[in-house]
Symmetry: C2
Subunit: 379 residues, 2 copies
């Protein structure tokens, strides 16, 4: 193998590849990046237990003298290419054990790994894609992924559920204390019901961050491949049945209060400085419990009581209020803060059904986005 | 106690006070901030084992209804004042156990600590100051503090030594593998020889970061008080004799090589990506050892050899070279990188005496700044 390429082009592709590169792996070969050339193209591949990424570089700056393949230690290779400051990079194999990286006055000799040890990655065949804009997928991930379970106790809840049915794509995430749901219209496509690991979605979001064109999605039994530009990003899907959440979301709300989103966020963040930490429901996460009270006179208060630190209380003026009875609900401020941040709308509504019944949040300008939070019992 | 003050003014002073606030303390009362008012001034005090800070607020926005004193939980009080978004803050004591913080629609009731438990802080009497510009002290700290020992095995080396003698202030730091020295001219003042803990200097640097006026330094046996604006920043001094380092710095250099500082830095950072990690000299710190070679033909190379990863090598063109014999020195890239970053000069010189003798770095525009590094033996 002997090739020359623009450093910038190589680095940009390595940044995408790094999304599939594990820091550690039970298979050491997977900490490497596979480089493989045909006469005209350079392919880079990375893979871990969840994600495999492949890029096909066919850039005008790429000059291939000799075709070949190798596996290089991934992190250090990326760091070297990042730190080099010449425009061109020359990569060639010397004596089968060494990849030489020449650029300007620098020469790195990197011990390579045996490319025969690199596992064959089964990519889903590129047939019958569902084509959607990357904005739709980014929106789905940002609206739902944060609400997935972080603990592995119920593995299926660590993913986002995507159901396609009747031309509607329903994306749902829940950790069983809150739920996020986004519904989008997509082109006609066969029905599917899949669960994508939250880590894969986080990495995908980073990979497509600066890309705003279309994505092609290819489905198999246990994998999803997302192709765009010169990139194939593949993730495994989670096994098992995602719980049916359709009946969890209430539809009748005796109490609807609307707020300026930023004012509500500020208020909740201030009050939660003094909220007690409740570790009871989930040992791994610390909850800050705050109260929202709608008084008889329709004034609204956010408050917290903390036996060791003190109390906090603020009045917040709703932009509109439609209330049946005075009501007090207690809930995790973290859940409300994360839910509020998922809205683009300036004005959001809290829709309440009862003191210990789930309440939902909607935004006037966020179509088909529902955030649901389960209150805690206040004694 | 009952007072009203501009939130901005209070927050700015709390940011200074936070420099002396411990996160944890064997004396829980010290995690609090002491508030004390006369009829016209509000005093804030914080203290930990190294540092005590006091500010005297006499701002036109300050209105004191009732004088008094209290101790409030430090971190949460600062966070509340930071998050409040109204212009004015009203603080008052209610029923002796509660400090009420009112601002806009927010009301925080913070459980206070018993101000009788707060220890009396002995501040050095404000007599006979040494007055120097804050720029001089910032320069001394930035030029030397990074070279102090991080481990407590030789406690005296965790501080910066300041010797005043014959109108010259000599600041020295060493961890016994490298040494930084900055000499500055100061106004006539009695001789002193003190060692200031590196942590105190780091906090002082943050406290005076945006201040560019004069500082008044007051000395006692075991403390140094630095006064500026409305702030008194006091640090304990380290006990013991600082080693005499005056004979460590060589003065005759058969080999002098000058480089563009940024080019040398880039080169060293790239090569050290592949340098082996050497933990032998000091178990707590990982060293990356690189080599600098001056060849017979006066070309200069930075290189490293790593039995597990591979090799790196670059040629770097000196801006001038005055060399007796070809020479190779090996040293920690971290030390050279930190030393180079302490110079403002565009061009710096490496002054070499021998393969295992200390070498020093100087900058054309950095007067009286010397960085010394002890090479390692290369086999």
């Amino acid at each position: 193998m002997n090739l020359t390429i623009d450093r910038e082009v190589l680095l940009e592709n390595l940044n995408v590849i790094s999304r599939g590169l594990p820091n550690k792996s039970p298979m050491p070969i997977l900490t490497g990046i596979k480089l493989y050339t045909t006469e005209s193209d350079l392919f880079l591949t990375s893979s871990n237990s969840d994600i495999s990424v492949e890029v096909d570089i066919n850039d005008s700056s790429l000059q291939i003298e000799d075709a070949g393949q190798t596996v290089v230690p991934g992190r250090v290779f990326i760091e070297i290419i990042r730190k080099i400051n010449s425009r061109k990079v020359n990569l060639f194999l010397s004596d089968d054990k060494i990849l030489v990286i020449k650029s300007g006055n620098s020469e790195f000799k990197l011990k390579i790994m045996d490319s025969f040890d690199y596992p064959k990655i089964d990519f889903v065949p590129l047939e019958n894609p569902l084509t959607i804009s990357s904005d739709i997928l980014k929106d789905i991930i940002k609206s739902t992924s944060f609400a997935t379970a972080q603990s592995e106790r119920k593995p299926i809840l660590t993913g986002v559920n995507l159901i396609n049915s009747l031309g509607k794509l329903i994306a749902t995430a829940t950790d069983s204390f809150r739920l996020s749901q986004k519904i989008v219209e997509i082109p006609e496509y066969k029905d599917f019901n899949i669960v994508i690991p939250n880590k894969s979605l986080d990495e995908l979001l980073k990979a497509i961050d600066s890309y705003d064109g279309d994505l092609s999605l290819y489905f198999s039994n246990n994998k999803l491949l997302i192709a765009y530009k010169n990139v194939c990003f593949q993730t495994r899907l989670l096994d098992g049945n995602y719980p049916d959440t359709s009946r969890l979301i209430p539809s009748d709300f005796p109490t609807v209060v609307k707020f300026n989103k930023d004012e509500l966020l500020d208020s909740v963040e201030r009050v939660s400085l003094l909220s007690p930490r409740d570790k009871e429901r989930d040992k791994e996460i610390t909850y800050s419990i705050i109260k929202l009270t709608i008084n008889k006179d329709r004034s609204v208060e956010i408050s917290t009581t903390n036996s060791s630190m003190g109390d906090a209380k603020e009045e917040i003026i709703p932009t509109s209020i439609d209330v049946a009875n005075p009501i007090t609900i207690g809930f995790s401020s973290k859940y409300l803060i994360e839910a509020l941040r998922s809205f683009l709308s300036t004005e959001i509504s809290l829709n309440l059904t009862g003191e210990i019944r789930p309440f939902i949040i909607r935004g006037e300008k966020d179509n088909n986005l529902t955030q649901l939070i389960l209150p805690v019992r206040m004694d």
